[in-house]
């Protein structure tokens, strides 16, 4: 028996079904929150702001807001997907089945990434109701959103294996990812910051992600798209390596 395609597909479908089962929490709530950002910061406050780099403020914040939702929701979805079987004990079935690291990742991470892509599409569709914007490189944008969704799904998977309580599960998305995204240029360009904060801001890895996505939307960004892309790919590689280590050693999975 080689790669267990049906096993991977079963996990994938089941995880997607779980998202639809909890559609309000998984999809409607983040869309509603992001819409409020569009209304408040885009339509209300944005109309009184100067364009940034030739982009209207309401349109300027779209990539950042999308990244804000994407990172939080992707990480939470993925971490919850693997944490719950550990918490309820149903992980026994996964561990006793002929599925390895590849099937598990395709199932759990693939489903979390798919949910994020659906969410991103809904948010971008919702944004058109409030803001007039166009995506300069749509295929690049799709590719970059997919890359970020996959990377943070992997990260969430690691988080779900590391966490041994619901509190720990929420720490990273709420206390680290959200603040870093807010401070990573979601609502402003980094060069609007005074010295030394514009330099210090570059220590925030999320700033590179926001900047990278903004480049795919408007063709300009705070940092080079190559750097953003390289950093995201590096993060993806680190996550894959950590997960391979987890499966090899059975850390927090097998006693």
């Amino acid at each position: 028996m080689g790669f267990n395609f049906r096993g991977a597909w079963s996990i994938y479908i089941r995880e997607l079904m779980r998202a639809f089962r909890t559609a309000f929490q998984s999809i409607l709530a983040p869309v509603l929150t992001t819409s409020l950002y569009f209304i408040v910061f885009g339509s209300a406050i944005g109309s009184r702001m100067e364009p940034i780099g030739g982009v209207e403020y309401a349109a300027f914040i779209i990539p950042g807001l999308l990244m804000l939702t994407l990172l939080g929701e992707t990480t939470s979805n993925s971490s919850f997907g693997i944490y719950m079987p550990r918490f309820t004990g149903t992980i026994y079935e996964l561990l006793s089945a002929p599925v390895g690291v590849a099937e598990t990742l395709i199932g759990f991470v693939g489903a979390a990434a798919t949910k994020s892509l659906i969410l991103a599409a809904i948010i971008l569709g919702t944004a058109t109701l409030f803001v007039d914007y166009q995506i300069k490189y749509p295929l690049f944008a799709l590719g970059y959103i997919t890359l970020v969704a996959a990377s943070f799904s992997l990260f969430g998977f690691i988080l779900g294996i590391w966490a041994d309580s619901f509190e720990k599960l929420g720490i990273i998305p709420v206390l680290i990812l959200t603040p870093l995204t807010f401070l990573g240029g979601t609502f402003y360009s980094l060069d609007m910051l005074p010295e030394p904060w514009d330099t210090i801001a570059l220590a925030n890895p999320i700033a590179f992600l926001v900047s990278g996505l903004r480049w795919t939307f408007y063709g300009s960004s705070d940092v080079s798209i190559a750097v953003s892309l390289g950093l995201t790919l590096g993060f993806l590689a680190i996550c894959v390596t950590v997960i391979a280590f987890i499966f090899k050693t059975g850390w927090r999975l097998r006693e």
């Binding site: 096993g7 996990i11 149903t90 026994y92 079935e93 002929p98």
Partner: protein, 317 residues
């Protein structure tokens, strides 16, 4: 019936903190048998199952299932093994049908509605197929776990305390279902606290304590070898001393001389013949008795006596 499908050699498991849950376990399971693994709490039963099913990483030892080394060819081996865990661990918000279908897919099998229906009907779950698992009773939840374990048609099924917390009537129903699985050719390894369960169903019995297998034998052979007969004879008048022809039997006086207790024979029934001889000897000696209570020892008696013994017998088979 004699072909081994699971072989465990020198299996040890030491948990973090130094607890040795399994200590150099050797065990061979034959195709088509029901094997009952008996032992007190903490004996290592669940760890042993976990090691075979991939939930526990053995410290040392080798496990071969269906000719596949579990350390290397785990996919092939696991595809043929099913597990019903001790805990009622299921996705409570999932429906019965979807949960069982998921299990089949997870093990690499194509969807088969007819097969899933057959399994659910055999476990009296078909009417509940669209119910969320959280809505079911404890006994039904346990049957859902069995259905999930059977969904990929395993050849070897582990049942870890399958009737724990299940009422007597339902327990007997489960025994019938387990017997039905055996008739279909499924090899079954079960752990249980209910010795009666092992006595009812098992072909062979293994006794484990402190992570070590104390004994493995055919159930009937074990009962014959280690079983005894006990008879309590109520005497019409109390005695202070036994006459020599009575004292020649394995008997003792109890209850102030009003009761004569015989304990002897073996599991083959020879004890009953000896009790008959004893009663005739009592009649010949002019000793009157008013009642006899006689019974053969159960597997539970053997289990208790074995675990209570410091010099437990070594593995017999």
């Amino acid at each position: 019936m004699s072909e081994p499908i699971l072989t465990i050699e020198g299996l040890s498991k030491v948990y973090k903190g130094g607890v040795r849950a399994l200590d150099n376990v050797d065990l061979s399971i034959r195709k088509g048998e029901i094997f009952a693994l008996l032992g007190p709490n903490g004996a290592g039963k669940t760890t042993l199952i976990g090691a075979v099913c991939g939930l526990v990483r053995p410290t040392t030892g080798r496990i071969t299932a269906f000719g596949h080394d579990l350390a290397k060819d785990w996919r092939q081996a696991r595809a043929q093994i099913g597990l019903v865990p001790q805990e009622l661990s299921t996705d409570m918000f999932e429906t019965v049908l979807r949960a069982v279908s998921y299990s089949r897919g997870l093990f690499g099998h194509a969807p088969d509605k007819a097969r899933i229906e057959e399994i659910l009907r055999s476990l009296s779950l078909w009417e509940k197929r669209d119910s969320q698992i959280r809505e079911l009773s404890g006994g039904m939840k346990r049957r859902v776990l069995i259905a999930k374990a059977l969904a990929h048609e395993p050849e070897l099924l582990f049942l870890d305390e399958p009737t724990a917390g299940v009422d007597v009537e339902l327990r007997k129903g489960m025994w019938e279902q387990i017997s039905g699985l055996k008739e279909r050719g499924v090899t079954i390894i079960l752990t249980t606290h209910y010795i009666e369960e092992a006595e009812e169903m098992a072909d062979r019995v293994g006794i484990i304590r402190g992570g070590q297998i104390l004994m493995v034998d055919d159930k009937d052979a074990m009962m014959e070898r280690l079983g005894t007969t006990e008879a309590l004879i109520e005497l019409a008048e109390a005695m202070s001393e036994l006459p020599p022809e009575i004292a020649a039997f394995p008997v003792e006086l109890r209850d102030g001389g009003r009761e004569l207790c015989y304990r002897g024979g073996d599991g083959s029934g020879s004890g009953k013949a000896e009790v008959a001889a004893l009663t005739m000897a009592l009649t010949r000696a002019g000793i009157e008795y008013t009642g006899i209570d006689i019974h053969d020892s159960s597997l539970e008696d053997i289990f208790v006596s074995l675990l209570g013994s410091e010099d437990a017998p070594e593995e017999a088979a």
